[in-house]
Amino acid sequence: MRYAYYPGCSLMESAREFDVTTRAVMERLGCELIEIPDWTCCGASAAEPVSRLMNYALPARNLAIVEQEMEGLDVLAPCSACYLNLLKVNREVVGDRHLHGQVNEVLAASGLHYRGDVTVRHLLDVLKTDVGAKIAEQKVTDGLKGMKIAPYYGCQILRPYPVFDEPGNPTSMEPFIRAMGGEVFEWRMGNRCCGASLMMGHPEVAIESVAAILADAEGADAIATVCPLCQMNLEAYQARAVKEGGKPVPVLYLTQLMGLALGLDRETVQLEKNLTMTAKVREDMATRAWAMPEPETGTGAAGVTDQPQEKGASHV
């Protein structure tokens, strides 16, 4: 399975651990990612408030390059905003003769043209549809036994175009969490907005959303995300969100957790890059503090979070 890989800007900057783990995990699962040559920004959610045309032309430029130079490959985007912007071109531009003409007129300024033949996929879509949890499970070397993971999907991955999952009640991460030996933490905030770029201009508004999400995650050992902005908002503002009623929870990329389970080395998984990776969390991860001892061999009904765990009592 080969894909035209569109990392997006964040994955080259503050979310490098997402890029590194996505590449490594996909390779381990038998997928070849070929980076789109000379790819540029998709415009995120900032293009549309500034220019209607650029909102479509920026992602279309990248699709035009794939169409021209990587014929037949699906585009794989790990970032939800990149994915939606690229998908939007196929959904809103292709088929609208007037708009399609305008977008191609803009692209022509760089000698490009987009017919509309490239399929756009999110990382999670590829994992669910092309790879499958069974294959992932077969490769698990070092499970996350007992770790309670809250799957966080965010907004733009399934809205407004629910391509590969149910936007009201998304479940596509769950088979992967189980395949890694983890437990799916049941919560209601998996598709709630994190506030996105409101965190810049109106943090007081965005913090309310972050606090509500973090409060609902109480009891989870980690939140798993597939979006660099969700990850940043949930992680970087935890101290403030806790004052508003949130609970501190480590926020990791799904690919980091999968990397751990697939036995990738520590340099690749890059847990130390996460801002919520405190000494306590790191120790919990190293000692598998979340793993409940087996009832017949255990030393008692130790709770996952409220009782001290014996180091080494729960090898996986």
Binding site: C9, S10, M12, E13, S14, R16, D38, T40, C41, G43, A44, S45, A46, A47, E48, P49, V50, S51, R52, L53, M54, N55, A57, L58, R61, Q102, E105, V106, L107, A108, A109, S110, C155, Q156, R159, P160, P162, P167, R192, C193, G195, A196, S197, L198, M200, G201, H202, P203, E204, V205, A206, E208, S209, A236, Y237, E272, K273, N274, L275
Partner: protein
């Protein structure tokens, strides 16, 4: 009410007319059910509910629309668009309102639009967003000397984690022809 009767059907300049016309087409079929308002995670911070905003657009109440902070509170989560029983592109309408307010260019619009502008300028210059230079642009645009300090603790944390990078110039200028062409076509060159 004091003074003159509030003007609701505002005179619309040519510049605004095309954006407003597009907006009226987008929300023309709104039946005022209020599902959008009920679905909005940021509704608590809005002064006009999304439902009422669509009505004001249908009526062309431009001055009231531009006074509102509602559309700046939209975080593009698409919940309203997903749930709209009429299938209207409401999140796109919120973005169009942001563009309309930029044309108006009042102080609130300059402040609220600063992040989007800084982001797009950085994309135009570098081809890809360079987080450090984008944040510098944002701070300059906000003209609030205290603002950088509110981000300082986070900046230091990110620096310690190796998450701050010097801007790369590899893709500088790649997108300039596209931006120039789009500006020309959108009548802003």
């Amino acid at each position: 009410m004091s003074g003159a009767v509030r003007e609701t059907w505002s005179p619309v300049s040519d510049e605004y007319r095309s954006v407003l016309k597009g907006l009226q087409e987008t929300v023309g079929a709104c039946m005022q059910c209020g599902t959008c308002t009920a679905s909005c995670p940021n509704g608590h911070a809005m002064d006009v509910t999304p439902r009422a905003m669509w009505r004001m657009i249908q009526f062309g109440m431009l001055d009231r629309i531009l006074e509102s902070r509602t559309f700046w509170m939209c975080s593009s989560c698409y919940m309203c668009t997903l749930r709209c029983p009429r299938g209207l592109k409401l999140t796109s309408a919120m973005a169009a309102l942001k563009r309309l307010a930029r044309l108006d260019g009042n102080r609130a619009a300059r402040r609220n639009g600063a992040f989007y502008e800084a982001f797009m300028e950085d994309v135009e210059t570098h081809g890809r967003v360079q987080e450090t230079s984008m944040m510098q642009r944002y701070f300059l645009k906000r003209k609030d000397p205290a603002l950088p300090f509110t981000f300082l603790p986070l900046g230091v944390k990110m620096l310690c984690k190796g998450k701050v990078h010097l801007p790369s110039s590899v893709h500088n200028g790649v997108l300039e022809p596209l931006f120039a062409k789009a500006r020309e076509m959108e009548g802003m060159s």
